[in-house]
Amino acid sequence: MALNPYESARGRMRARAETTRRQFLMIMGGLAALGATLFGGIEVLKFMFPVASGNAPALFKTTFTFNDLTGGVVGGQAQTPVNVLSETDKRVTVVLDDAGIYAVYLVCTHLGCTPNYVTNVVGGSGVSEAVADARGVRARDQQIPNGWACPCHGSRYFIDSTNFYGPAPRPMDWVDISVTPDGYFAVDRATLVVTRGPGDNTPPAWRLLVGTKKSNGKTYGV
């Protein structure tokens, strides 16, 4: 029996393992087709991810001026400030408080709607004004805590963008703001100057300081 090598168990295994030329070409051809399909598939998928989206640029100039927000100075007298001005379409709001100026990116941290500015943000929320007072989140001259309320699912934020009600998981981000030479604000939505995680209620220290020198040696006013 052992005279025929293919009769042994080992020989049968060898016979099975041997690949004919036709099988080899089939395997190679199949692998080549598979590779081409995978490569082509990846390229088709990449087609769906544009490298430039054509969305609005991150950097923009506000339609209101520095003096619109701070009230400015008329005849040596500081005028009443407005405290909060918003660019709703561009989803940025600019706030003046005792420490200075900051800009909040109005993208609700829940699911991305634009919260509206409200003068009484605690009303109807079950959160008392005392809570807001304890947190020190009343803007200048505000008798009632003001802030933002999201129209989609009712999240609410104090004026320093800290969430206190509704499904929002964390405070809204602050974006970089500066004053342009012609007295407007330049807001860069791509630069987040304050980003706070869930439960982080510490009031951010970042401010565009009122009264600091401009590059031309003049001060920012008030």
Binding site: F49, P50, S53, G54, L111, G112
Partner: protein, 243 residues
């Protein structure tokens, strides 16, 4: 038969041949001819030649699958009419929808038919799935068709979602903002999925044209192919019959 025999007129022969080329059989006189007529006609063959008496009882299936298909046909036809006025551009989309309602004759009815049929189709597809589930009609040999059905449910919901954006009003924009932000929460692929759907980071022109293409071409086509397989399997597996 031959027109040259002089017995029948050539026109008659032509009409007879034309009729025969399309219908192959005369009016069904016996069960056998009726069966053959159904089998040799594309439109008639969609319906089975024979059905169990228990399966035609309306109270058994409530015709929910048929209603879903009827609404799909209705949505295709009304949607086709809407496409004559609607341009998927952020500059004109909202105005086109208003034109549909106030400028086009019967446009408001067509738009509302499309809207209510869309709501109705989501409802009937859900109910259809519930009916199949509670009757155990998903069990072998119909498990493959159940899986196709779940994909059809998904297609129905995606069609509903993609159509939501097209009027380009505030509701549409924020609904898609919320919906795509939900997709973003998925691990790893989430942000890519959102970018893929919107063609960018904001609900803007890129998002509108993508949702439009999905809504009028891609999803209906996939849905139609799945429906063909779905109905084919219903025919092959037969009705579950009385419990």
């Amino acid at each position: 038969m031959s027109a040259t025999s002089g017995q029948a007129s050539p026109i008659r022969a032509f009409v007879a041949q034309l009729w025969g080329s399309v219908f192959r059989h005369g009016l069904p006189t016996t069960d056998k001819v009726a069966a053959r007529t159904a089998l040799t006609n594309f439109f008639l063959h969609i319906h089975p030649v024979r059905v169990k008496k228990s399966a035609v009882r309306v109270s058994y299936t409530l015709c929910l699958g048929g209603l879903s298909f009827f609404l799909f046909i209705l949505l295709t036809i009304t949607g086709l009419f809407l496409m004559f006025y609607y341009i998927p551009s952020v500059d004109s989309a909202y105005q086109n929808v208003k034109d549909l309602q106030f400028v086009a004759v019967f446009g408001d009815i067509i738009r509302n038919m499309h809207r209510w049929a869309a709501h109705g189709m989501v409802i009937t597809v859900w109910l259809h799935m519930a009916r199949v589930f509670y009757q155990g009609a998903y069990k072998p040999p119909r498990e493959f068709n159940w899986v196709i059905g779940t994909f059809l449910l998904l297609i129905t919901l995606l069609l509903s979602f993609s159509g939501y954006l097209l009027p380009w009003d505030q509701l549409a924009i924020w609904a898609i903002t919320v919906g795509t932000n939900m997709a973003k929460y998925a691990p790893i692929v989430g942000p890519y999925t959102r970018y893929l759907l919107l063609g960018g980071d904001q609900v803007a022109q890129g998002a509108l044209i993508r949702f439009y293409v999905l809504h009028v071409i891609a999803l209906p086509l996939i849905g139609f192919l799945l429906m063909v397989v779905h109905f084919w399997r219903v025919r092959k597996d037969g009705f579950t019959g009385g419990l």
